[in-house]
Symmetry: C2
Subunit: 231 residues, 2 copies
DNA sequence: CTTCCCAAAATTTGATCATATTCTGATACA
DNA sequence: TGTATCAGAATATGATCAAATTTTGGGAAG
C-alpha cells in the first residue's frame, strides 16, 4: 500500500528537468505580465514567444492557453492573442472584488498569524519602503505583490487566495503604466496601520486598513486610466 | 503547392470546423463536469479522452490545461490529472463567494432587466419546476444553472460573471452526487421570490432572495458531503 | 508449502518536437 | 474600389522520448 519512492525523493544533485517546460514558460510569462513588462494591447504570438524564449511551440502554446483561461491574456475571436486593456468599468468590478477578497483574507490571516509571521510581513514592508525612496518601480511592484501574497498564504483559504491572486494579473500591465507616470512617491501604503493592528490582534482594524490600502491603490489606477488614453 | 482553397469555401451543409477542435473538446468536458457526469476523484488521461472523444492528443491536452487553470480539474503533482474532490472547508469558501457574487450580480441585474428579460427568467423557472416534479435530475441541474447564468448575463459585469460561472465547475461534480442521494424533491428553490421582487423593481429583495437560494442550495451539498464519505 | 516483500521488466501515460494543413490579414493589381 | 493572390501564423497530427505506475518473478522468512 504505502509506497516508498526510492530514488525520486532523494533528488540527485543534477536535476535536469524537475518542472516541465510548459510550466517554466507559464511562470515566466505570468511574471512578465504581473510586473507590467508587457504593455496593455500588445500582441502575443506563439511563434514569436517560442523564438524569444528559446522554447518549442507546444509548451508556449499551453502556457498561453492557461493564461487565457485566467484572463491574463485575451483571445480576440480570430486567432489573435493579446495583453488585455483595462477599461474603467472593468476597474469598478476589480475594486469591488479586491475589497471583498483582500479584506476577508486579511481577517482570516489575522486570526492565524504568529508573531514571526507578522515580523516577516514587516520585513517585506521595510523592503517596500526602501524601493519607494530609491525610486525603484520594479522593486516596488515586486515587494507590494509579495506583501499581499504573504497575507493570502497566511489565510489558509486556497480558493479565496487563488481568486485574489488571479486579479493581480488583470491590472498588472496597467500598474506599470501608472508607476511610469506617477513615479513611486505618491503611492499609498496603509501597510503600517495593518501591521500595528495585527500586533494588537485586532482583526477588524486589520481588515479596515487593508480595505483602505486596496481602494486607494486601485483608485490611483483609475485616475491615471481616466486621464491618459494609451491605445 | 497545389492548394484547394475551394474546399472550405464551398462549406458543405455540415459545417466541419467553424470553431477549433480544442474549443469543442473544452466545451464538451466543461459540460460533463458541470452536469456531474464525471465523478469526484475520477482520473482523467489525455490519451483516454482522445480515444473516447475521437480527437487528437493536442486538442485534448489544451482543453485539460484550460480546465486545470479554472480549477475544474486538478493536477496531482506527478503528472496525473483528476476531477477534484470537494472538502468541507472548500465548501465554506465557496458559500462565502457565492453569497457575495450571486447577490451582487442579482442586484445589478435587477437594475437592468426589462420585463421581457424577467419573463425569460420565469420561463426557465417553470421548466425547472417541471424537471423537479418529473424527478429529472439532469434536467434540474441544467435548468438551475441556466437560471443563474441568465442573471449573470443580465448584470453586464463580465469579470464578476466569469468568476461566478467558474465556481459552478467546482461543485458541479458533487451536485450530481447530492441529487443522486436526495432526489429532486427536497431541493430549495427561492426563484419565485426573486422573480416577484424583480417585477417590483426591488433590488434589495432580489438580492436577499438570491442569497437565501444560494445558501440553502450550498448547505444541502454540505449536509450530504458531511454525511456520506464517497472516496 | 505458503506468504510477503523487494527489485526489475513491461506497460501505460505524459511531454516535446517536426511537419502538414487551414485560416486570417494584407497587398498588389485591375 | 473591389477582387485575387500571397505571406505569415495558428491548428492539428503523428512520432518519439521520458517518466511513472503496475505487474511480475524470485527469494527469504514463517
Amino acid at each position: 500500500m504505502v509506497r516508498k519512492p526510492t530514488a525520486a525523493a532523494v533528488a540527485a544533485p543534477s536535476d535536469p528537468a524537475p518542472v516541465p517546460e510548459h510550466e517554466m514558460v507559464y511562470r515566466r510569462l505570468r511574471a512578465q505580465i504581473l510586473h507590467g513588462e508587457m504593455a496593455p494591447g500588445q500582441a502575443v504570438t506563439i511563434q514569436g514567444l517560442a523564438a524569444e524564449l528559446g522554447a518549442g511551440m507546444t509548451p508556449v502554446r499551453e502556457a498561453i492557453r492557461r493564461l487565457i483561461a485566467e484572463s491574463a491574456l485575451v483571445f480576440q475571436g480570430n486567432r489573435r492573442v493579446s495583453v488585455p486593456v483595462l477599461r474603467p468599468d472593468n476597474l469598478d468590478e476589480l475594486i469591488l472584488l479586491r475589497r471583498v477578497l483582500d479584506t476577508e483574507l486579511a481577517r482570516r490571516a489575522a486570526g492565524r498569524a504568529t508573531p514571526s509571521d507578522i515580523d516577516a510581513l514587516e520585513a517585506i514592508d521595510i523592503a517596500l519602503d526602501a524601493a519607494i525612496t530609491r525610486g525603484d518601480v520594479r522593486g516596488y511592484l515586486a515587494e507590494n505583490h509579495r506583501f499581499h501574497t504573504a497575507i493570502y498564504d497566511l489565510a489558509a483559504a486556497p480558493i479565496l487566495a487563488g481568486l485574489a491572486e488571479g486579479l493581480w494579473l488583470r491590472f498588472g500591465p496597467s500598474l506599470r503604466v501608472v508607476c511610469g507616470r506617477l513615479g513611486t512617491q505618491n503611492l499609498p501604503d496603509r501597510h503600517k496601520e495593518a501591521i500595528a493592528a495585527w500586533r494588537r490582534c485586532d482583526a477588524d482594524a486589520v481588515a479596515a486598513a487593508m480595505e483602505r490600502d486596496v481602494v486607494q491603490g486601485m483608485e490611483v489606477i483609475r485616475a491615471v486610466l481616466a486621464k491618459g488614453r494609451f491605445d
